[in-house]
Symmetry: C2
Subunit: 281 residues, 2 copies
C-alpha cells in the first residue's frame, strides 16, 4: 500500500498514543512524530516503531502536522490543543482520545483559533494496562471509536478524523459529547469507581481467597489514577447520576435480602444475567 | 497409576460435579457414579467420561459409595445429605462444594446419623459458565479448595476429603464455616450482587458501547440465579455487612466527587489499584 503521506503528531505516547502510532505505521499512513515530557517513553516508542521521531517540544512537534492527536489525561487536553494551535499550520486538524468529552469540547470551542478544527474522539479500546510497552498495532481493529462533533465542528474536520480511524480499522460512531459522556458514565466510569471500591474494601488477609470472579470484577481498578481522577472529575454530573441509579439497585438487593425475599433476589439477579448474556463473552 | 479403588458418588453433574468426575477419572481415583434429576445431564456426563454410571435414584447411587459429593445448589445440600445417609454405608464420607458453608454445617451437624462424617468443601474454581459441557478435568489444579470442619467433624473425615482434593490437584486450606462465609461475602458474594446491579442498570441502547472493561466487571453476573439466590440467602448476614462497607465506600466517592476533591478521588482510586495490583492478573 502506498503511504497516505500524512504528517501525524501524537501528543502522549502511552498505551493509546503508542498504539495509534503502531497502527498508523503498519497501515502506511505517513510520518509520525511523538511528543511527550518523558524522554524515555519517546525513546521506547521510537524503538518499537510507534513513531518516526520524538520530541519533548510541543511547538516543534506540531509545526508540520496534518493531524495532531492528544493522548494525555483529559485534564490536559484543552490547554495543549490551544497551545498547539498557535504553532501548527492553519490546515491542521486536532483530536483527542479521552474518555470524557463534554468539558474539553466546550473549552476548545470557546477558542476561535481551534474551534471547528477540533473533534473529540474516544476509541473504546482502553485497558487497565499502562505504558507504551503494551501498545498494539491492532488495538482498534473492529472496535468502536466514538466521534463527538459539536455544532462548531467543520465537516472536513469530521471527515478527516473519521477517515483516520477507519484506516486504523475502527468502526466509527457519531454521538454528541453529552450523549457520549452519559453513556460512558454507565459503561465505564461508574464501573471503574465500583471496581476500585470493591478492591478497596478487600482485607489483606483475604486476598489469597480472591478467585477468577473477583479478579475479573475488579480488573479495571488497575487503571492509572492519573488518568481516571480527571475523567471522573470531567464527567462528574453524569457519574453522580448513574451512581445514584446504581445505589438504588443496591438498596433493592439490600431490601430483598433483609426481607428474605428470594423471588425478588432471583429477579434482580436474572435481570443482570439477561443483560450480561446479551453482551456475549 | 493404579486406581485408588474409591467408589465416588457425585450428586449433581453440572459444571463442578462433572469437573470433579473428569478429574477423578483422569487421576484414577476409582469408580464414579453420577446422580441427577436430569437424565440428559447424566447421559452427557457419561458420554464425556465424567462418570462411569448415572442414576436418578439417590438411594441407589449412594449405596456403595466411599465418598458422596453434593454439587447441587446450597439450599438442597443438607436435606440430600440426610437422605443419602440413610442408604449409604456407615463408613461413607459426605461433602459438598457450595459457596456458603455455615447454614449447611449447622443443619448437618444437628443430625446424629451424619454429624462427624460430613465436611463442607468449597473449590474456588467457579465460573459464570453452567452445565457439564464446560467441565474440565484440570479445573481444580493449583486452585484453592477450602475445607470447613466444625467441632463435630471427625479427623478421618477431614483426612479423607483433604486427600481427595489433593489428588485432584487442589491446594487445600482449612477455615471455620463462619470465617469462610465472611471471606466469601467479600471476595465473591457481594461482587456477584454488584456485577448483577451494574449489568442490570445498563440501558439497552448503550449495550454496544460496553467494551472490555464493562464485560470484565460484569462477567460473573452471567452466573445461574438458581445457584446464586440460595447462596446470597444462606450467607445473608455476612453479605449485608460487607454490602454496608461497600456502600460506605461508594458514599466516600460520592462526597469526593460532589466536593470536586480530586486528591480524595485519587486516593480512593489508588487504594483500589494497590489491592488489585497485588492480586496479579
Amino acid at each position: 500500500m502506498r503511504s497516505l503521506g500524512l504528517n501525524v503528531t501524537i501528543v502522549g505516547v502511552g498505551l493509546i498514543g503508542s498504539s495509534i502510532g503502531l497502527a498508523a505505521k503498519k497501515r502506511n499512513l505517513g510520518y509520525v512524530i511523538g511528543v511527550d515530557r518523558d524522554k524515555s517513553a519517546l525513546e521506547q516508542a521510537r524503538h518499537r516503531g510507534a513513531i518516526d521521531e520524538g520530541t519533548v517540544d510541543l511547538t516543534r512537534g506540531v509545526r508540520a502536522a496534518d493531524v495532531v492527536i492528544f493522548c494525555t489525561p483529559v485534564d490536559r487536553v484543552a490547554a495543549l490543543v490551544k497551545q498547539a494551535a498557535e504553532y501548527a499550520r492553519e490546515s491542521a486538524f486536532f483530536t483527542d482520545v479521552g474518555s470524557a468529552k463534554g468539558e474539553i469540547a466546550a473549552a476548545v470551542d470557546a477558542v476561535s483559533q481551534v474551534s471547528g478544527r477540533f473533534i473529540g474522539a474516544h476509541p473504546l479500546a482502553g485497558s487497565e494496562k499502562q505504558g507504551g510497552e503494551h501498545a498494539d498495532a491492532d488495538l482498534f481493529v473492529d472496535r468502536c471509536t466514538v466521534l463527538t462533533p459539536t455544532s462548531a465542528t467543520k465537516r472536513d474536520t469530521f471527515q478527516a478524523i473519521e477517515s483516520f480511524w477507519r484506516h486504523l480499522g475502527a468502526k466509527v460512531r457519531k454521538m454528541s459529547p453529552e450523549d457520549h459522556d452519559r453513556a460512558m458514565a454507565c459503561t465505564s466510569h461508574v464501573p471503574h469507581l465500583v471496581a476500585a471500591a470493591l478492591a478497596g474494601i478487600l482485607p489483606k488477609g483475604r486476598r489469597e481467597l480472591a478467585a477468577t470472579g473477583f479478579r475479573d470484577a475488579t480488573r479495571i481498578a488497575g487503571g492509572d489514577p492519573e488518568l481516571w481522577t480527571p475523567i471522573l472529575q470531567h464527567n462528574r454530573a453524569a457519574v453522580l447520576a448513574v451512581l445514584g441509579e446504581f445505589e438504588e439497585r443496591l438498596s433493592d438487593f439490600r431490601a430483598a435480602l433483609t426481607n428474605q425475599d428470594s423471588v425478588r433476589i432471583d429477579r434482580l439477579l436474572t435481570q443482570g444475567k439477561k443483560v450480561r448474556d446479551a453482551l456475549g463473552s
